[in-house]
Amino acid sequence: MTKLLASLLLAATFLPAQAATLQPEKSDLSFTFKQMGVPVDGKFRKFEAQLDFDAKKPEAGKIAFTVDLASVSLGDPSFDKELAGTPWFDTKRNGKATFVSSGIKPTGPGKYDVAGKLTIKGASRDVVVPITLSSGVAAGSVAIKRLDFKIGDGEWADTSMVANDVTIKFKLAFSGL
């Protein structure tokens, strides 16, 4: 029995690194913006991530991140319905937002800059997302301009009403990292 366990452990040690799996119940994806100076917090309830990462070779790592835009919530059903509409996320035509990494650069112990392409509502922008990685949790935040992605189009494009700056915050817990 002990021998079997030992050989299993040995096998596990020499197995190639497995892609890490996101643990949604331990993860958060939220955002903050300002309307007429008032900070408003929202979150996305559904998102997926594929992470292929080895701390020994961070440059070789890859991350692909997908957000179900219809899962957006400001905590009030009437606002959530509006956010799903055409001027905002237009979830009927644009169900998903994606982030695909193009390069990971270590910047310090447990710190990385993840460069990649963020696509929302058919518009893509190159962004660099600084993250910290500790005990299987990748956390960080990135600032974007909502109008780069036509989020809040038409009459809502007035940034004196709803600020252009949106901060996205995330905490992604992975098993097998």
Binding site: Q35, M36, G37, V38, P39, V40, D41, L74, G75, D76, S78, F79, E82, E155, W156, D158, M161, V162
Partner: protein, 180 residues
């Protein structure tokens, strides 16, 4: 019978009375109008203006209450005792409403997760947590208190007009912006 000119309220009390009367009527009308608007920039703008007005009314009401406590108002004009009691009760209820209406609006903003940033500059603290059901409850309480305040205003105006035009006792002169 010789007409004696009744003592007037102090100039500060008079200015606060009319300023707050105007502000409260405007905030009430905007509140009534904005609640039925569809989700739009106009609705958002009016909500913020309404909140800024409400907090301003609250602050001026605190000033007004302190002034009222520190300065004696003019003596009652001759009138039946029950009318004087009713007038005093109305005034007391006014002061309750001056605080209760803005405070429930403030709490409602916090509960709904849209805290007040006064004039878009000064963030006000939340003294209730973000809670959907609490927000709905406070919305109803805020609305009914505002209707109560509106009813007080109607009674107050009707009584003032009765004094002026039926009793002809010169009551309005006590609160007139024009010096006698």
């Amino acid at each position: 019978m010789p007409m004696t000119s009744p003592a007037r309220y102090t100039p500060v009390a008079i200015v606060l009375h009319w300023l707050l009367a105007l502000a409260i009527v405007c905030a009430f009308c905007v509140g009534l109008y904005m609640a039925d608007l569809p989700f739009s920039p106009l609705r958002l703008k009016l909500y913020n203006w309404h909140k800024w007005a409400g907090v301003t009314i609250l602050a001026l009401s605190a000033l007004r209450l302190l002034w009222r406590l520190a300065h004696r108002p003019p003596a009652d004009l001759p009138m039946p005792a029950w009318q004087a009691r009713l007038a005093h009760a109305t005034h007391a209820l006014f002061y309750v409403a001056f605080f209760a209406v803005p405070l429930t609006g403030w709490a409602m903003s916090s509960a709904k997760g849209f805290p007040i940033v006064w004039f878009g500059v000064l963030p006000l603290p939340d003294f209730v947590p973000k809670d959907h059901d609490l927000g709905e409850l406070l919305e109803a309480v805020h609305a009914w208190l505002a209707y109560g305040l509106a009813a007080l205003v109607l009674a107050h105006v009707a009584a003032a007009l009765k004094h002026q035009f039926i009793d002809r006792d010169g009551l309005l002169a006590r609160m007139s912006l024009r010096r006698p």
